[in-house]
């Protein structure tokens, strides 16, 4: 009982400190992790085994951590090192790509392909945002896309805000389509043993159908605003050529090849047996080996704060899991849904979406994984269906408010630094209906396809 009280207090305190940003979130999660080890596992449970299980270092030295010879399995509780290593590897690869100008080149190449026409640019940038976010973290996608959008808006004389908002939404949508698109998906995939293909054929399909609806929605919403003031005659000489954005030609080719290999490895990982942690290490090693001159620079640019935040978070959630709090929460959801699967899905998807609109979706998804596992066991509901429901809710819900997802914050800040302020009201008026629409689409597809 004492351990449960400690676990809940630490968890709530962690959330409050993360939301209020009094201290940086990685410090909050690490301090809370330490408190979990001391108070929950030590004073409350007197269990060294719980500490060892949660730290979970032994998982790294098992063969399954790197290579799966049979069916992919569920990872044990505690720190999900597979997620940490994969995200680290992808961060190194993305920094390598950014260094050689890959993202700016891609944006400019597409802009040139559509002859710098505003509406085609608007549509293609939304699609580009979706596709890139399927493989790369949404922060990087928006960082480059929003910067290029502002640059082009100044040259082509259109308001960049509608385009940036649409790109943000599509980055979050693209992230939901694959296992590596959004951190909650990586955590769900590695914790429950799903492959890249599992995600693409389930959440990917939902995201694909939703994308069509989103393209229509944003086109109808923004077409007049985008056309107003857009330059009718374009001075092509003032526009940067795609080639001029490449800073290192040889490095560009190598980075593109590593990116292509990463996609192939991810798409085929269920067949090859390589785990995402192995893929993360392979792409990081390849990037560092091929650009060894810049290896230290690339390693310095990795967002270690996020990785530390993950580590702390996994320990705190481990505290809730070990003390049985999450099972109590699962029982509560089961009770209010009356064991009805449709109600259960509705509760999970809307609860996830609403929570993710206001708080970080990573701790939320991490907390919910043991809950859906428990619901699946107790009520005999297909776990994968609950996993896709959770993934869609957490990934899409974040789009609803300016603080819901990292891509939103980065997009808003990039626009604001050029003077285009996107306030809460303006943001929510445009993005909330789109979020509700996609969550509804996702829920309906889940009902029709799986029930």
């Amino acid at each position: 009982m004492l351990a449960q009280v400690f676990a809940v207090i630490i968890f709530i305190a962690m959330f409050v400190f993360i939301v209020t940003e009094i201290v940086e979130r990685h410090i909050v999660s690490l301090v809370c992790a330490l408190l979990t080890i001391l108070f929950v596992f030590g004073i409350g449970m007197h269990s060294m085994t719980a500490v060892i299980e949660t730290i979970n270092l032994k998982s790294i030295i098992t063969a399954d951590f790197w290579y799966l010879s049979g069916e992919s399995g569920e990872s044990s509780a505690g720190i999900n090192w597979e997620t940490i290593l994969f995200i680290f590897g992808m961060m190194v690869m993305v920094e390598g790509m950014a260094r050689v100008g890959f993202f700016r080149w891609l944006c400019m190449r597409i802009a040139k392909l559509v002859k710098y026409q505003v509406i085609p640019l608007f549509i293609t940038f939304m699609v580009l945002s979706t596709v890139l976010a399927m493989f790369i973290d949404s922060i990087t996608v928006i960082l480059f896309l929003a910067a290029v959008t502002i640059e082009l808006s100044q040259l082509l004389k259109f308001n960049p805000v509608p385009m940036i908002l649409s790109e943000i939404f599509c980055a979050n949508l693209g992230g939901s389509a694959t296992m590596c698109g959004d951190p909650p998906n990586i955590i769900i995939g590695t914790s429950l043993g799903y492959s890249f293909t599992d995600f693409v054929t389930n959440t990917g399909l939902i995201a694909g159908i939703s994308l069509i609806a989103v393209l229509i929605y944003f086109y109808l919403l923004f077409r007049k605003e985008l056309k107003a003031g857009a330059a009718e005659v374009i001075d092509y000489s003032s526009l940067p050529s795609p080639e001029s954005t490449i800073t290192d030609k040889k490095g560009f080719i190598i980075s593109s090849m590593i990116f292509a290999v990463a996609i192939v490895l991810l798409v085929t990982h269920a067949q090859t047996g390589l785990t995402v942690s192995a893929i993360g290490v392979i792409v990081a090693a390849a990037t560092l080996a091929t650009s060894w001159k810049y290896a230290i620079l690339l390693l310095k640019k990795v967002d270690y704060k996020t990785l530390l935040f993950f580590i702390g978070l996994f320990v705190v959630i481990g505290g809730l899991e070990q003390t049985g709090i999450l099972e109590i929460m699962a029982a509560f959801i089961g009770k209010i849904s009356g064991g009805n699967v449709m109600a259960m899905i509705a509760i999970i998807i809307w609860l996830s979406a609403i929570a993710s609109a206001f708080v970080d979706n990573i701790p939320f998804a991490t907390t919910m994984i043991p809950i859906i596992k428990s619901l699946s066991v107790t009520y005999g509901v297909d776990l994968s269906m609950l996993a896709w429901t959770l993934a869609m809710g957490t990934d899409i819900g974040g789009s609803a408010t300016p603080i819901g997802a990292s891509a939103n914050v980065v997009g808003i800040a990039t626009a604001a630094r050029e003077g285009y302020m996107i306030k809460w009201g303006q943001y929510c008026r445009k993005m909330m209906p789109a979020t509700v629409m996609v969550v509804l689409i996702a829920m309906l597809i889940i009902y029709v396809r799986y029930l």
């Binding site: 939103n408 980065v410 990039t414 604001a416 630094r417 996107i422």
Partner: protein, 199 residues
């Protein structure tokens, strides 16, 4: 003016700090940046002023905003950064100007040509001034002074390591109630002239 001169004026509400800054700007024939800083930025970047007004010198809401890898979703925070960049660019281009508030004493700390001043005042004199200027009752004036100063303090302390009004952050702190506006301006110009010659 040959040599660059930047005067940063921090002030308590009702102390007459803004009027003093205006007088200094006129005296030295240099531009004054106060609320008009936003107009300058909006004009330069072809922005809609309606979007920027109301955010100036406002404290960001921790609950309604989030920071990711140094990027903030807070419009107030981003407007601060926009003004920060603008003032930095102005200073590095060699221009002379007077700037009121906006954490300028911290933002432009590295500029040798910057002289930072904080103007304070006695409470009774500040109340008298606010009652006279805005036709307010004594209670209303007290409330307005406290509210404005609290906002300025929160805004400043949110962005700067040094505290608002702390004498260690400024070259000179002066109580305008003792010499009046004219006397304070006279004393300040004497100080600024001496500092300017030394540079």
């Amino acid at each position: 003016m040959e040599k660059q001169l930047i005067i940063s004026v921090g002030r308590e509400y009702g102390s007459g700090g803004h009027e003093i800054a205006e007088r200094l700007s006129k005296h030295y024939g240099i531009q004054l940046f106060d609320h008009n800083l936003l107009d300058e930025i909006a004009a330069e970047k072809h922005l809609d002023m309606r979007n920027l007004r109301g955010l100036d010198e406002k404290h960001r809401s921790r609950l309604a905003s989030r920071t990711v890898r140094g990027y903030s979703s807070s419009p107030e925070e981003n407007l601060y950064l926009l003004q920060f960049d603008y003032l930095k660019n102005k200073a590095s281009s060699g221009e002379s100007f007077v700037v009121v508030g906006r954490c300028s004493e911290t933002i432009l700390k590295e500029c040798d040509s910057m002289i930072s001043i904080f103007v304070l005042g006695d409470m009774d004199k500040k109340i008298e001034r606010i009652m006279r200027l805005y036709q307010l009752s004594k209670d209303q004036a007290v409330w307005k002074i406290r509210e404005k100063d609290m906002k300025r303090k929160r805004y400043h302390n949110d962005h700067c390591d040094g505290k608002w009004g702390d004498s260690r952050n400024y070259d000179l702190c002066i109580n305008s109630s003792k010499l009046g506006i004219d006397g304070t301006v006279a004393l300040l110009t004497e100080y600024i002239d001496k500092r300017h010659i030394q540079q």
